[in-house]
Amino acid sequence: MPKILKPTQPEKCIGCEMCVFEAQRQLKKIGMEESLVRVFRKKSEGKQNVEFELEIDPRINILDIEKISSICPRKVFEVLIEQDLVDDKDQKHEKSAEQEKDIERKKGL
């Protein structure tokens, strides 16, 4: 099953860009240009809270994503197996179908 790098806890990101540089090193490059993962600083009104956003190019999954995930000091990423994502989606779908039925039942009452 193909593996996928997913930022499951992006709110923990501290903007160190270790993931950016690791992805680039795997491509024998040093720099920010054409990186398959990018870290953006979110513009915030209050200057006390700095937040970051991550953007991941799906092509990153051809790299050693376990290594990219493990270099993150804040455990922002998880390596998921594609089937897990499908199962997760199915579960959510079943759940919402049940919820819809429940609402219909309540309406009937």
Binding site: G15, Q24, V50
Partner: protein
Amino acid sequence: MINTTVKKVLDIDLETQKAETKSFTDLNNYFGGTGLGLKLLEMYSEKNPLIISTGPLNGFFPFVSKASIVLINDGAVEDIYLGGSISTRIKFAGLDSIVIHGTAKEETVIEIQNSNAFLKEGGTDLESLGLPGKRTVIEFDGKKVISDQYFTTPENYLEKKFIEKNIKGLSITGTEVYSPKDFDEYKNLYEEILNRKNELSVEMGGYPSCSGCPMGCGKSKIGEIGGNILLNSLVACQYADKIYTDIGTVFSCLNSLGYEYTHEDIENLPTLVEQTIKKI
């Protein structure tokens, strides 16, 4: 390709509103950072310069994540250090130093994209300049000069210089890409140094971190002032002094990037810098 034989300096004249990139082949013995900054301060001493520099290892190795700022404050030479993403952006802009001299007639915002500089009016929205994800934004809010909305420098030397020169902010974007000749050797050394994080004198934390440093420590916010000349010429973090004052380690790092410095060059740096300061 990493330029190991030339120091590239972006010269920005606020008086004439002109900028040009200068290449120096005779400044290599100053390494970079504060060593190079002090030499440039001597060269530009008549022009009240503000000099921002990176070292040869910035962007390439972990815990080498600050930029050196050299200036004259009330007649005294000062060196302060700013964290965040500034060092990697200057490095990936292909520059060793940025020298800003003269005084702008009107409040000015400086946009740097690789080796080009564009001077804009003070009201320009800094967030509209440069390339997100590849830039650093430095803004003077009237009280402090703040980089990446978080990082500052000690004292008020930088703020005073921004006021003197009429600078409202800077945006620096770097899009150059490098590849050391022996990439595997470089990569092994990188990983070896990254594994030495327990030698740092700060704890890991969840604070915004400097680019290329995984520590997230609470101390990088306020920057640094003064310190060891080798460390400051590499512009390594002062909390990584055990790693980057070890001449063997520094020598290996420089060699892996293709620099042809000798042990003697490293050992002679403090004397060279001392002589330069005496001339300023």
